[in-house]
Subunit: 151 residues, 2 copies
DNA sequence: TTCGATTTGATTGTGCGCAATTAAATTTCA
DNA sequence: TGAAATTTAATTGCGCACAATCAAATCGAA
């Protein structure tokens, strides 16, 4: 089996945007976030901030480390993001008394209440997408599998 | 048909990260870019810069507008990115003499030559992924379809 | 117990990504 | 033709995203 080279037709084909997996992934991810934007703007949230709230609504308090593991984001991204959310009084940041290295993120009253306004967001996006449920579920499953290959 | 509310089980389920399509898309996109990173670093390229070069290698000269349409990026992203690539002498920027509003992006000699080193990148990523070709192709097709729904 | 290794977050610096605005060139059409 | 509308980039400002580094707390083995 010969390896493709720059001179081989295979290598040239692989260098075309149209044959790649990563580009539609990259573009669709940005377009999806853009589809969220008008809905999230009403809540004064960005998409990554919304993701943090999803986890807090679902699980209650989380350490920065846990949020990072679940969202695949590091402290260089999360620390300033969480500080902005703290300033807006949606969440609180405090050191774990049993292990002062950890910072525990919790919801404020406003943060809890935001959930009621956010509950309309996923359904609105589903409607925007207008994708058959079977296709949606299959794509979600495949993306989760891809993620296990990459993470 | 009742609309889901925050109190309904459906709405609560939709607010879980695990049931969403956008999050695995968002996470997989970032992890994919991270998988490219060590390979692109050898070429002194970021992933979006690599995308620009893919188009220039494939099509030759492109205006900023064309690059923006093909990559779904706007001038606020492309202009500084292209200026950095110009500084590194991979491409040239010049006004279209027939329409001074347009800026034409072309490859330098170094930019052309970079193609030979980049041709190994897609195959290396495929190997890293180690995904059956059928699954790869199906996922790519579905993501392209998703992109048409979103773009 | 103590000191080296590990864990955890914070900080710094660079590069996107995008909304909003501006400015210049071109096109349109009255 | 000439003013208004449109097109195209550039600029500005803000928020991620992440590599690299640092500092503090904790853990663990000798």
């Amino acid at each position: 089996m010969n390896k493709p080279t720059v001179h081989s037709p295979e290598a040239a084909a692989l260098l075309k945007l149209d044959n790649q997996l990563c580009f539609p992934l990259y573009a669709a991810s940005r377009m999806f976030t853009k589809a969220y934007q008008p809905l999230l703007q009403e809540l004064d949230l960005t998409y990554p901030q919304y993701l943090v709230l999803l986890l807090l609504w679902e699980h209650g308090e989380r350490t920065v480390k846990q949020l990072g593991e679940e969202l695949l984001l590091d402290s260089g991204t999360l620390t300033p993001l969480l500080k902005r959310m703290e300033q807006r009084q949606w969440l609180t940041r405090r050191r774990d008394l049993r292990d002062e290295r950890s910072v525990i993120i919790g919801l404020t009253e406003s943060g809890q209440q935001l959930r009621e306004r956010a509950c309309a967001v996923p359904a609105a996006l589903l409607e925007k997408l207008d994708m058959p449920e079977a296709e949606f579920n299959q794509l979600r499953t495949q993306l989760k599998h891809l993620l296990t290959l990459l993470a």
